[in-house]
């Protein structure tokens, strides 16, 4: 019987994968993919809770807004990455080292 726990475990797996992707990858576009995984994980959580736990549609509404926000963020992020490529001819985050963290 597929219940809440199944879905939130999938979501936890996606969240961990997304977080690791952000931490270990050097290519800016790849890091962005990790962020999208994190946001999708949160979305699965929201919809699963909406269905099994809260019994209202608030979770699904929230998930729609998260999709909207993710789209806008991805657009701006890619604009900045393309701008970086134009200036540095590379999108490797190791090359972004003028500013010493």
């Amino acid at each position: 019987m597929i219940g809440l726990n199944h879905y939130i475990l999938v979501s936890a797996a996606l969240f961990s994968l997304g977080l690791i992707c952000v931490l270990i990858r050097k290519n800016a576009v790849n890091v962005l993919m990790g962020v999208e995984l994190i946001l999708n994980a949160a979305n699965i959580n929201l919809v699963a809770f909406s269905r099994f736990s809260a019994a209202n549609l608030n979770g699904q509404l929230f998930a729609i807004f998260v999709i909207v926000i993710a789209a806008a963020e991805a657009a701006v992020a890619l604009a900045i990455v393309l701008s970086m490529y134009r200036l540095l001819k590379s999108v490797n985050l190791d090359r972004a080292d003028i500013l010493k963290g």
Partner: protein
């Protein structure tokens, strides 16, 4: 309905597709593999939404995530390598430390999640949600709805401004 064997098979296969594709995103050598892994991950998530009864959301996910964000990411991948460098690789830290870290993180979160007593409201059978969501958008959620439009306008103007090449 949740008991039926079909649903179980569907869930496990889509969950497997999603998680395996996400692993591809994280651990693949080639950027293109990562991008396609992300495609299948989004697809798997949309299928999970359908299983959860969120029909409108699943359609939105496909249209916006796959049709919009993923295409943008593919553009990003394609436009940010030198034309003659066909390998499109992305460097990777060591595989095994990363995998162990991921499993550790997952284990921690999963134990916390499984021990929790979640809220239990009145559960009903899933119904088509589009009309209800539409009503909510213009009812309770009208303020976020309107603010989201301004938000998207900001993103539009900002992205266009950053990338524009001025003839000077």
């Amino acid at each position: 309905m949740e008991n039926s064997l079909t649903i179980q098979i569907l869930f496990y296969s889509f969950a497997l597709i999603t998680v395996a594709s996400a692993c591809l995103v994280v651990f693949a050598r080639s950027l293109i593999y990562s991008a396609f892994g992300l495609l299948f991950a989004f697809f798997g998530v949309a299928a999970l939404y359908v299983l959860l009864g969120a029909d409108f959301l699943a359609a939105t996910q496909m249209i916006i995530y796959v049709g919009g964000i993923l295409v943008l990411l593919l553009f990003g991948v394609m436009l940010t390598h030198k034309l003659y460098d066909m390998k499109l690789t992305s460097e990777l830290f060591q595989f095994w430390p990363a995998a162990i870290l991921m499993l550790g993180l997952f284990a921690t979160i999963a134990t916390a999640l499984l021990k929790t007593h979640w809220f239990r409201g009145k559960i009903e059978a899933p119904e088509p949600t589009t009309a209800a969501i539409g009503n909510l958008f213009l009812g309770e959620y009208i303020l976020p709805f309107e603010i989201a439009s301004i938000f998207l306008l900001i993103a539009l103007i900002g992205a266009a401004m950053i990338i524009r090449r001025k003839p000077e």
